[in-house]
Symmetry: C2
Subunit: 135 residues, 2 copies
Amino acid sequence: MKYRSHCPINFAQETFGDKWSLLVMRDLIFKDKKYYNEFLASDEKISTNILADRLSKLEMNGLIIKSTDKENQAKKRYSLTNKGLDLLPMLLEMIAWSAKYDSQTEAPDTFIQSLKSNRQALIEKLTADLGDITA
Amino acid sequence: MKYRSHCPINFAQETFGDKWSLLVMRDLIFKDKKYYNEFLASDEKISTNILADRLSKLEMNGLIIKSTDKENQAKKRYSLTNKGLDLLPMLLEMIAWSAKYDSQTEAPDTFIQSLKSNRQALIEKLTADLGDITA
């Protein structure tokens, strides 16, 4: 892949992609979603063609892995890679910023409090909860 | 403005906008740029119509302020608001992620080292260097 520049702010965005991609990463990291239909059902009403495109780009860029579901061979299951999970600290800062500036934020108070008072512990807890990171 | 959801990950991205918007924020926060032509000259070759649109959206969403340049009344000067500057911690995490995963990253080693070893001090230093935040 040819990048417009290797400025780190540019690289990150060219790699994880746009708004829709980060909503999929949110669903994987914070909402325990794993299947296409679960991503499709999110509040922001992503369209099916955008979702398919973003999943394929996230996979191509090594942020997620697609595998066959153990319980249903016809179903595809999406999991985070370490590279994908490593977006967590950035997503936490994004959450903190929105909690500060959106009066109608859905970010839970308790979450924001633990982010402010003990960021590193929160990162470790979330990472441990996620369990079986793939690669 | 009507948001697709008040999920904090969604709110942030609907507010600061897309890739191009964050490159403008990067130029303001890290590269001491203040003028239209300076943003236009960045490596990623933003087009003039996209730049004009993103500047106007960033201003509308309260991340930047446009004023008349003191030395040249015909020139517009862009400055950060506190709301815009508060994206700094998120941008730093984005930089750290890219430095880890982009073998050709432009992020300086010394910068990444000080981000890893003393994040809070780096945030305070960068904020102090920026000086006259507008609102």
